[in-house]
């Protein structure tokens, strides 16, 4: 076995030192009826690198990859070009094979990266502080709702119908037994502003409301000025939580902080991570400084060492489960450190100038494609303003259209029917995402294929 360094001679010598007759003696506490005599049946024995690689390459080959086909799928995960040096950085063994930085004197690399990451996330979202990351956007959103309840001591959370339905599902699952009340509506399929309606959200706010959760751009790609909603929340003593699933949008759009958000959560996958069939991704979490002691997750802070040099440590850990046990702010232990590194490295390679350019490019390309697809007979563009994702009304059920497009080799977006199978009013909707990776040839292929399928 290539990963096991002990030889039989080592094993015998070590057993002699221990004073054990054989290896079985070390498992003496296991009840006899639970001891297995030999390798578990029904599983193969060890295999060479070559054999494992052959089997997995075969499996991987059955999937249609985003880079080999015209690709327009979004809804919470976006295909962006990740610079080659980002992957090189996260494959440095000193980052890849380190543990959580519990011994800060020999973990300054990870800690400084987290400090830089927190600063980048806070600035991007327009907030004062950010944590060292969470599992993904959906779990970060749920943690934000709990945080709002701790701060306001109120039970009710109002979730906009424009929030990714999987995120809302996660929230509903995790609040089933916590006493939180979640009010979530059904999306509208309205021309001009699909998804949600801020005025009706404002009307729902009452004295029991701890927070309103709104996504911007919303799932349908629609973007809105959240300032009136923030004002209404604050007037009622509630908090505004803003969800951002396409973080590149903040290179060109007003930040949630500028619009009055109290907590911003998001999915950071767009920078650094790649598509990865859904994970591992990166939960972003930022808030106002006055709420930092109610914040979940790991935090990295600046300090000095015994000789006065600047250094970094994990801090405010009295909020966490290993100290607080059943009184902890969250049961979460792990963050998403390596993906935070990828995010931070990608963003530092872009810099302010590159991020603004990337965001402007995404937006302009999406505007171009939206106009082209909106001219396909039978297709209507629903959005007024949007960033890099928009919703089409196909005038017929979209799920089979997506399948037929895939048969023609075009991954043409996500049907609303896949996300809301039960909602009749949404079945004709198709959400299309456009990033810098889509070429003019991809646009042509999509338009031609949609033309044919719709004909």
């Amino acid at each position: 076995m290539r990963y096991l360094p002990l030889s039989d001679a080592d094993r015998s010598a070590m057993l002699a030192t221990i004073g054990a007759a054989d290896i079985d003696a070390l498992f003496a506490d296991v009840p006899a009826e639970a001891v297995l005599d030999g390798p578990i049946a029904g599983l193969p024995n060890h295999a060479s690198e070559m054999a494992v690689e052959r089997a997995l390459v075969k499996m991987a080959g059955k999937n249609l990859t985003a880079s080999t086909t015209p690709f327009f799928v979004g809804c919470g995960a976006y295909k962006h070009h990740v610079p080659a040096s980002v992957d090189m950085v996260i494959q440095r063994g000193e980052f890849l094979t380190a543990y959580t930085p519990y011994q800060p004197e020999i973990a300054q690399g990870t800690l400084q990266v987290l400090f830089e990451f927190q600063t980048q996330v806070a600035r991007l979202t327009g907030m004062e502080v950010a944590n060292a990351s969470m599992y993904d956007g959906s779990t970060a959103m749920t943690e934000a709702v709990f945080m709002a309840r701790r701060i306001t001591r109120r039970p009710k959370c109002i979730v906009s119908a424009g929030v990714h339905p999987h995120y809302t599902s996660v929230l509903k699952t995790l609040t089933r037994f916590t006493g939180d009340v979640v009010e979530a509506g059904t999306p509208s399929f309205t021309r001009g502003a699909p998804g949600d309606d801020l005025a009706s959200l404002i009307a729902q706010i009452d004295a029991e409301t701890s927070c309103v959760v709104v996504q911007n751009p919303n799932l349908f790609g629609h973007i809105a000025d959240l300032t009136p909603l923030a004002d209404a929340c604050h007037k009622a003593g509630a908090l505004l939580i803003v969800v951002v699933t396409e973080i590149v949008s903040l290179g060109v759009m007003k930040s949630p902080g500028e619009m009055g958000a109290d907590i911003v959560v998001g999915e950071g996958q767009s920078l650094g991570a790649g598509l990865l069939f859904g994970g591992p991704y990166l939960g972003l979490f930022a808030c106002r400084e006055k709420h930092v002691r109610q914040m979940p997750g790991r935090l990295c802070g600046e300090t000095v060492d015994a000789s006065g040099k600047r250094g970094f440590v994990l801090t405010l850990s009295t909020r966490e489960q290993h100290i607080r046990r059943e009184k902890a702010t969250s049961n979460i232990c792990t963050n998403s450190g390596l993906i935070a590194l990828a995010f931070s490295a990608h963003l530092s390679l872009l810099g302010e100038k590159g991020l603004r350019h990337l965001a402007a490019l995404n937006h302009a390309r999406a505007v171009q494609l939206a106009e082209r697809l909106g001219r396909v007979p039978g297709v209507t563009l629903l959005n007024g303003p949007f960033f890099n994702e928009f919703t089409l009304d196909l005038g017929r059920e979209a799920r089979p259209v997506v399948r037929k497009l895939a048969e023609k080799g075009v991954l043409g977006g996500v049907s609303l029917g896949r996300l809301w199978p039960g909602e009749k009013a949404l079945q004709n909707g198709l959400i299309v995402a456009v990033t810098e990776t889509a070429t003019d040839e991809d646009f042509d292929a999509f338009e031609d294929a949609l033309d044919e399928v719709m004909a």
């Binding site: 995960a77 980052f95 489960q321 290993h322 895939a406």
Partner: protein, 517 residues
């Protein structure tokens, strides 16, 4: 005057005996690195992009103005920044990382290569299912390995880490109780449990009660049996436990809990000790999470991402979260809805936006296929052998509170009682080990012994590496007992001396502030 073996004398600061400060603050290969915000520039970018087509924007008046404050690097600057930072980290790739309860084993590079195959890395979670049959197959095959290795009939794949897996298991238990209209709400947790266990139980609406340990470091069977009753929903047990000991009464406990109408949650953080030799399903477990980033070698990445699939008994399987993969006549299907139409109406719902940690699944499966059933059994045996070798080699010098009660499993537990009277603690010893070139063991956990030191070598360390660690631990302890005052300020040779954690918490500085701001 200090003299090198060859060459010139080292220059000393007059009168102090200390080596002079350098102009740069660097010391040869030990390189200081400023923050991105001190080095980068708002006008620099390391990414070339095509020009933006000139079209009128559709941002509805929401364009961002003002400076965001995100400095950039050219590619050479970025590569050097992160490479220099990386060198201030300890890592498994550099040496033994004996962090108890964390299973820091070698991370095979084949796994990294496989996870980067475009067929796994470059696919979207919402692509049509017909275009991702290979990805669903990988999840299905990994699930089959996990079920066979644990002897359990079902597995939920989507939890993103160990604590998230615990949450999945406890939500399944809560959903099962609710489904039968049972209002029992007490969860029993041993004193030695990971802090996540009580945190998770409380999150699911349960009341936590502690169960004491006996003198042998195991759950006090009599106390536990006496507490069982119609109000007890579940028992959460770690096996092997956090003292590194096998719980020999687990089957007896499980039978009694089941007879009393409750469920058994097993924290599987320490599965590495028994993989291939013992199946938790044979011990009466109803739910157990498996940290793919421990037992199955997916890299820890400086604090995640993890991955925590949960195996479930037949009693809990119907309550498993969506989504999950199911075999159908037309291939593999990803069930995304918890409705009667999908035969998943009892599911407690969704835990994550998509399908779980695919990148970790690929790595874990590559690891399992590489080892096979025979190799995984050898993994457990060598992990346990290595830990017992450390225990046997140190117990005459270090206090080993449970060594008299027989062998340990995959980790050896010591306390700092042997340092009594020196004024030195576990912390001082750990910091001294840093100077010897090791990552210290887990400190102050579990809470059931004083100044706990939990040493988990894992199976991927050679005897020579263990002998060096043992030698260093003996040397440090012996010197500490002989001359305590010399050992209060380690580490001396790390990139930083001891860091002021009190200052960090009292006046939190959680981000960089520009001088001008």
């Amino acid at each position: 005057m200090a003299m090198n073996d060859v060459g010139r004398p080292t220059r000393l600061v007059a009168g102090t005996g200390a080596v002079a400060e350098t102009f740069t603050g660097n010391r040869a290969l030990m390189l200081e690195e400023p923050l991105l915000f001190e080095r980068g520039s708002l006008d620099t970018s390391g990414v070339d992009l095509p020009p933006v087509p000139p079209v009128p924007d559709r941002l509805g008046g929401l364009a961002r103005d003002g400076v965001i404050g995100l400095p950039g690097f050219s590619e050479p600057e970025a590569v050097r920044h992160y490479t220099r930072l990386s060198r201030q980290n300890y890592a498994i790739d550099l040496g033994i990382f004996p962090l108890g309860s964390c299973t820091m084993k070698h991370n095979p590079r084949l796994n990294e290569k496989m996870a980067r195959l475009p067929g796994f890395a470059d696919i979207h979670p919402l692509q049509p299912q017909s275009t991702v049959q290979g990805a669903l197959e990988l999840i299905d095959v990994l699930a089959d390995w996990l079920m066979k290795l644990t002897g359990m009939p079902a597995v939920a794949m989507s939890p993103k880490a160990g604590a998230h897996g615990e949450l999945c298991g406890m939500l399944a238990i809560r959903a099962a109780l609710d489904a039968r209209g049972d209002e029992r709400r007490v969860v029993l947790v041993p004193e030695s449990a990971h802090g996540t266990n009580p945190a998770t139980a409380a999150f699911c609406g349960f009341t936590v009660e502690n169960i004491p340990a006996n003198a042998r470091g195991r759950v006090d069977l009599d106390a536990l049996l006496a507490r069982l009753g119609p109000d007890v929903a579940a028992v959460m047990i770690t096996n092997p436990n956090t003292c590194g000991l096998f719980e020999p009464d687990l089957k007896t406990i499980a039978d009694a809990v089941h007879a009393a109408g409750g469920y058994v949650y097993c924290d599987g953080a320490n599965f590495n000790a028994i993989v291939g030799r013992v199946r938790p399903g044979d011990l009466g477990v109803d739910a157990m999470h498996i940290n793919l980033h421990k037992t199955f070698s997916t890299p820890h990445g400086g604090g995640g991402p993890g991955s925590g699939p949960v195996v479930l008994s037949a009693a809990l399987a119907p309550f498993a979260p969506i989504p999950f993969v199911r075999k159908t006549a037309n291939g593999l299907e990803l069930v995304e809805e918890d409705t009667a139409a999908t035969h998943a109406a009892d599911s407690f719902g969704r835990m994550v936006a998509f399908h779980g940690q695919m990148g970790m699944f690929v790595r874990a499966l590559a690891y399992m296929m590489s080892h096979g059933a025979d190799g995984l059994r050898q993994v457990a045996e060598d992990a346990v052998l290595n830990a017992n070798y450390v225990l046997a080699s140190l117990k005459d010098l270090y206090t080993a509170p449970f060594a008299d009660s027989g062998p340990c499993m995959h980790e050896a537990l010591f306390s700092d009682d042997f340092l009594d009277g020196t004024g030195l603690t576990t912390l001082d010893l750990a910091k001294a080990l840093i100077d010897e070139g090791f990552h210290p063991m887990t400190m102050y956990f579990p809470l059931v012994v004083h100044g706990a030191m939990l040493v988990e070598p894992t199976e991927t360390e050679s005897k020579a590496n263990l002998d060096q660690l043992i030698g260093a631990m003996r040397h440090v302890a012996t010197q500490m007992l002989a001359d305590p005052d010399a050992w209060r300020a380690a580490p001396h040779f790390a990139p930083r001396r001891r860091l002021d954690e009190t200052l960090a918490a009292r006046r939190p500085v959680l981000g960089y502030k520009d001088e001008a701001a």
